[in-house]
């Protein structure tokens, strides 16, 4: 169990239980999980397949409801929110990066990046978007469609999109899972920079100890429970711990 942080958390999950199905076939994906994501920190979540990592991300991001427990983004509890309120929350206060197929194929890279802002009907902060585009190294490719970009470029677009609306927290579920290690570490370096330079809060699921070592904290999940935490990780310690939990 991680210690309660001194700074107010960007997001917090309390006594979360998530159960799928009923009776004999019931699966408990989250089993009384309590966790804080401190503002301005980079958290990696690790664990064996089926341990509940994606489920944790989904409930924390308001994409799915809990069987029991509470989720807070800032000071707002998600349980009482309507679908529209949750949608607005995701649009205005959260960012997402999925493993693949993050983008809308009919829109250009630039349009994809600015999509949440435009969905909200807000003004696009062009200077900020241009800066982001520069940071992810896509300045000369912004007019291209996703189908004209490589997988790594597409993921960079997805990360830029997640950051474009300056969300309170970004959730990334295996963002480098489909990429070769060099492309993957570029993405990770970029996320790391966002945390360091812009005080962005990022939560990332990964299976890769090297990727996890970019984070400030690494949480270990097994059978739907938080089983361990490493602060200021390095790859060897992470790998070590992974072996311990059979990941």
């Amino acid at each position: 169990m991680p210690p309660r942080p001194l700074t107010p958390p960007a997001a917090c999950v309390r006594s979360a239980v998530k159960r799928y199905g009923t009776g004999d076939t019931a699966v408990t994906a989250l089993d009384d999980v309590t966790v804080w994501f401190p503002a301005g920190s980079f958290t990696a979540i690790m664990g064996p397949s089926g341990s509940g990592k994606s489920t944790l991300m989904h409930v924390a991001a308001g994409l799915d409801g809990l069987t029991a427990g509470e989720v807070f983004i800032g000071v707002d509890e998600l349980g009482a929110m309507s679908d529209n309120e949750l949608t607005r929350l995701r649009r205005d206060r959260l960012g997402f990066v999925f493993q693949a197929f993050n983008l809308v194929p009919t829109l250009s890279a630039y349009e994809n990046i600015t999509l949440p802002i435009r969905l909200a009907g807000r003004r696009i902060d062009t200077a900020w978007v241009d800066e982001l585009v520069g940071m992810v190294g896509l300045t000369d490719r912004v007019e291209h469609r996703p189908s004209e970009l490589s997988g790594g470029q597409q993921q960079r677009v997805a990360v830029a999109r997640a950051l474009a609306s300056r969300p309170e927290i970004v959730f990334a579920d295996e963002p480098t899972g489909n990429l070769d290690s060099r492309t993957g570490s570029e993405i990770l370096a970029f996320m790391r920079r966002a945390v360091r330079e812009m005080h962005q809060t990022i939560v990332m699921v990964t299976h890769d100890p090297v990727a996890a070592s970019h984070a400030d904290h690494v949480l270990f999940l097994a059978d739907g429970r938080i089983v361990d935490q490493i602060d200021d990780p390095d790859p060897e310690r992470v790998l070590d711990r992974m072996k311990q939990f059979g990941a």
Partner: protein, 878 residues
């Protein structure tokens, strides 16, 4: 062929294609799997087949009841004795009446069981409150007859009261009695020769078991009164004969011929039935054509949708097919499985459609009634041949529509299985594919336009068919060009939508242009409906404007009294005499239709009051004179023709022309006037007195009146109205109102045509809904992403709705262009028929656009709801 035991089910399935039984089970399994996406295909097939079957059943039913009507009308009549044709032949023959004494002579012949004279004509019932029965414009004929009262000769039976026993008694059919709420002993007015007659109902009759004779209104008089009010005193139309031994008809017919002399014609009852049927078929031929035309339209529109569904599902299953090909399935096997699937859908849906056909035929029937066109009642007739036709057409259309997608499926390269996205997105513009597309599309369009043009110019044996096929080719050609046009259209219309509707608008535009082929073939179905609606709208407006112009320019009379009779009955001639005596009136002429054989050619002629006619109708410059040198008109020995006819037949003023009228006598008439006739297009004209002298007792269809000098329109209108009041069938108009009334004749038919085309639009709407639903299925993941990053349900719905509106808008735009083209071409082609104005009515066309766009919104309702309700996580996982 090897069967691998460990292959997945899908492989197993295709490997076994070839054994008929397993093919069917595997296909059925495949169908169940995608029942949702095939549901709309099936619906389209069903609707198309139902419409085809419905029209066929309705035409069968009508034909059967017409046939029954003619058979029953002559039930019991074994032979008929009548005057020989004065001119014309078969059903078109015009003949004189026969003397009443003939009946007795015929009855005296051995073997004749009964003989009676029959006289029939126009007689219209008017109830105590002035209700007129029998509106010819709606197809309800008001018929008068003599009461025969011999069950051997006709099916009329008195059910209440007694036969007419005096000149002021009538028997009416039970339906009429019910409508007018009158009973035996009640007074009733009858319009016939001589004007309005006050009568008493002596009896109420049924026609066999029916309350009326196939939807007509019948009033029956005693023999002498019938002759007086319907025909000619002392004469019958025909003598009908029942035989003691019907099998001996030939022998008795010869005996009758010997006995009554060669001046008469003896025919069998069957001949009367055949002639009546032939006349009817001429009248209803257009109806058959119209109904078949709509069945074809429904099927073509349905075909587009079927084609579309199979194209999309094949595209979505590219990976599946590629996988099969990769592991060794042959092209033929893939082709076979897709075709079998389509056949299964075609067969099942067509069967259901046949059942719906009977319902559709009932619906169509009430549709006609709603628009004021009465069809005769009669039990529904379902002919096996019609069912087989509708079924075969449904299955064939389905199979044909699936052929191209099936071939595409068979051509799937195995490598396609390895590609990430199975969704076909064609590259924008410029590719060789689109160049051949432009070439073929344009060629087909031009060829179709050419065929239409030559058809309109009257080329070939069957110009209508040429026009129809040409029109179809134009639709096909433009549909082929559709994918090329979709992107420019998307940019044109999508830009504003995107800027007004924000992100959903942009998504809608991009999705609508994402697969131009799909958008185009979806829009094509709507294009056909809108194209035809647009065409009909322009044509109708042009016809109305032309009629209006023709009447306004060609009629110089101030007042027109209209009978609404279209030539069967009308205004008694006494009206003209009475109007002439009014001080407010300067000139009066009636106008009646007849036919004559003029110098060997049968022609329609009109009877006029020729002394005044030239002052009432603008006939342009005239050689000779209608009124004659002494102002008494054409008299009994002269006629007038228009310049076109004169030129064609080589006549000029002073030419002598042999003319035969109904009485069979050949008169030599001198051409008294040749008129320029710039507006109306009048047939040859004779004085009505000449027709009367030939034994015809004409009614005026219209009576034209000019006001005396210094009398204003309202005064003369009131004066004419007060005289015409005694004739309940007279409608008194000033010139403008008359023009409007004439133009309004187009309306009932127009209503029916619109209602039928609405059906094509409905099918097209289903097609749009289908395409959207299928597209949304393949974009599930994308919608999940949108929802995850913050698109609200309303925004997702809006995107689908606007995409739908864009597709509908595209179809509408293409349709309107084609419709305008057709309208222009047909109106130009009809210029010689008097359609001289081309009118593009903005308000009705704007309504068409509004309806079409609303169609898009309607089509989007369910797909948009489904898209908005997608569970975000499930969508992301897909």
């Amino acid at each position: 062929m090897t069967v691998h035991d460990n292959t997945p089910d899908i492989v197993d399935r295709t490997y076994r294609v070839g054994g008929a039984a397993t093919t069917i089970t595997t296909t059925l399994r495949g169908l169940r799997g995608q029942s949702r996406r095939l549901a709309t295909t099936a619906l389209a097939v069903m609707l198309g087949v139902a419409f085809t079957a419905g029209t066929l059943v309705l035409t069968d039913t009508l034909r059967e009841s017409f046939d029954g009507m003619h058979v029953d009308a002559h039930a019991g009549v074994d032979l008929a004795v009548r005057a020989p044709a004065s001119f014309g032949d078969g059903p078109d023959a015009v003949r004189d009446r026969v003397d009443a004494e003939l009946t007795a002579a015929v009855a005296a012949v051995d073997g004749v069981a009964a003989a009676a004279g029959r006289t029939s004509g126009w007689a219209q019932l008017s109830g105590p409150d002035g209700t007129l029965l029998g509106d010819i414009a709606s197809g309800v004929d008001p018929i008068g007859e003599n009461w025969i009262g011999d069950e051997r000769l006709d099916p009329w039976r008195i059910v209440d009261g007694s036969p007419p026993a005096s000149a002021n008694e009538v028997v009416i059919d039970r339906a009429a009695a019910t409508t007018l709420a009158v009973a035996v002993g009640d007074p009733v007015d009858v319009l016939a020769l001589g004007g309005r007659h006050a009568m008493t109902i002596s009896g109420i009759a049924t026609f066999g078991d029916n309350d009326d004779r196939f939807g007509t209104v019948t009033v029956m008089f005693d023999e002498a009164t019938a002759q007086h009010l319907l025909g000619e005193r002392g004469r019958h139309d025909v003598v009908v004969v029942a035989l003691e031994e019907p099998a001996a008809a030939d022998v008795v017919a010869d005996d009758i011929r010997r006995s009554v002399g060669a001046a008469h014609e003896v025919v069998t009852g069957a001949t009367l039935v055949d002639e009546a049927r032939a006349v009817h078929l001429q009248d209803w031929g257009f109806f058959d054509t119209v109904m078949k035309g709509f069945a074809v339209i429904a099927l073509v529109v349905g075909g587009f949708i079927i084609f579309n569904t199979f194209s999309i599902t094949v595209a979505q299953r590219t990976r599946e097919f590629a996988m099969l090909r990769a592991i060794g399935a042959g092209r033929g096997q893939v082709l076979g499985s897709v075709l079998t699937e389509s056949m299964a859908v075609g067969v099942l849906a067509s069967l259901v459609g046949l059942g719906g056909g009977v319902g559709v035929s009932a619906g169509l029937r009430s549709l006609f009634t709603v628009f004021g066109l009465e069809l005769p009642d009669g039990g529904v007739v379902v002919r096996q041949g019609s069912l087989v036709t509708a079924f075969a057409v449904g299955v064939a259309i389905t199979a044909l529509s699936a052929l191209v997608p099936a071939l595409r499926a068979a051509r799937t390269a195995p490598i396609a299985a390895m590609r990430e996205s199975a969704i076909e997105t064609s590259t924008p513009g410029g590719s060789a594919g689109s160049r051949t597309r432009i070439a073929t599309g344009s060629a087909v369009t031009l060829a179709g336009a050419g065929a239409m043009a030559s058809g309109l110019a009257g080329a070939g044996d069957d110009p209508i068919v040429l026009v129809g096929l040409g029109g179809l080719a134009v639709f096909g050609g433009v549909a082929a060009l559709g994918p090329v046009l979709a992107r420019p259209f998307g940019r044109l219309v999508g830009g504003p939508i995107a800027s007004i509707r924000g992100v959903p608008g942009q998504l809608a535009r991009d999705n609508a242009t994402r697969s131009p082929k799909r958008t185009a073939s979806t829009a094509a179905a709507l294009m056909i409906g809108v194209g035809l609606v647009g065409f009909i709208t322009i044509l109708a407006a042009s016809i109305k404007a032309s009629i209006d112009e023709m009447v306004t320019a060609g009629v110089s009379a101030d007042i027109v009294v209209e009978s609404g009779s279209f030539g069967f009955g009308g205004l008694d001639r006494s009206l003209v005499t009475e109007l002439r005596s009014l001080p407010e009136v300067a000139a009066v002429s009636g106008s009646t239709l007849a036919s004559a054989e003029i110098d060997g050619e049968v022609s329609e002629i009109i009877g006029i009051d020729s002394a005044d006619y030239g002052r009432l109708i603008d006939l342009g410059s005239t050689e000779g004179s209608l009124a004659g040198p002494d102002g008494t008109g054409l008299g009994l020995d002269r006629m007038a023709v228009n310049a076109d006819t004169a030129a064609e037949r080589g006549w000029s003023v002073g030419s002598d022309v042999p003319v035969t009228l109904a009485d069979g006598a050949v008169r030599t008439l001198t051409i008294g006037a040749v008129v320029e006739d710039p507006y109306i297009g009048v047939p040859p004209m004779v004085d009505t007195a000449l027709l009367e002298s030939a034994g015809l007792r004409p009614f005026d269809i219209q009576v034209f009146v000019a006001a005396a000098d210094g009398v204003d329109r309202d005064t003369v209108l009131a004066a004419v109205a007060s005289v015409a009041e005694r004739l309940p069938n007279a409608a008194v108009y000033d010139r403008a109102a008359f023009a409007e009334d004439r133009a309004g004749l187009v309306d009932p038919l127009l209503g029916v045509v619109y209602a039928l085309l609405a059906f094509a639009v409905l099918i097209a709407t289903l097609g749009i809904a289908n395409t959207l639903a299928l597209s949304i299925m393949e974009r599930t993941r994308e919608i999940g992403v949108l929802r995850a990053i913050g698109a609200t349900r309303a925004q997702v719905r809006a995107a689908v709705r606007w995409e739908s509106v864009m597709i509908a808008g595209f179809g509408t735009a293409l349709g309107l262009v084609i419709g305008a083209g057709f309208g222009w071409a047909v109106v130009r082609a009809l210029e010689t028929e008097g359609i001289t104005r081309l009118v593009v009515p903005t308000v009705p066309l704007a309504i068409v656009v509004a309806i079409a766009v609303a169609t898009g919104v309607g089509a989007a309702v369910l797909p948009a709801r489904r898209a908005a309700r997608l569970d975000v996580l499930e969508a992301l996982r897909s």
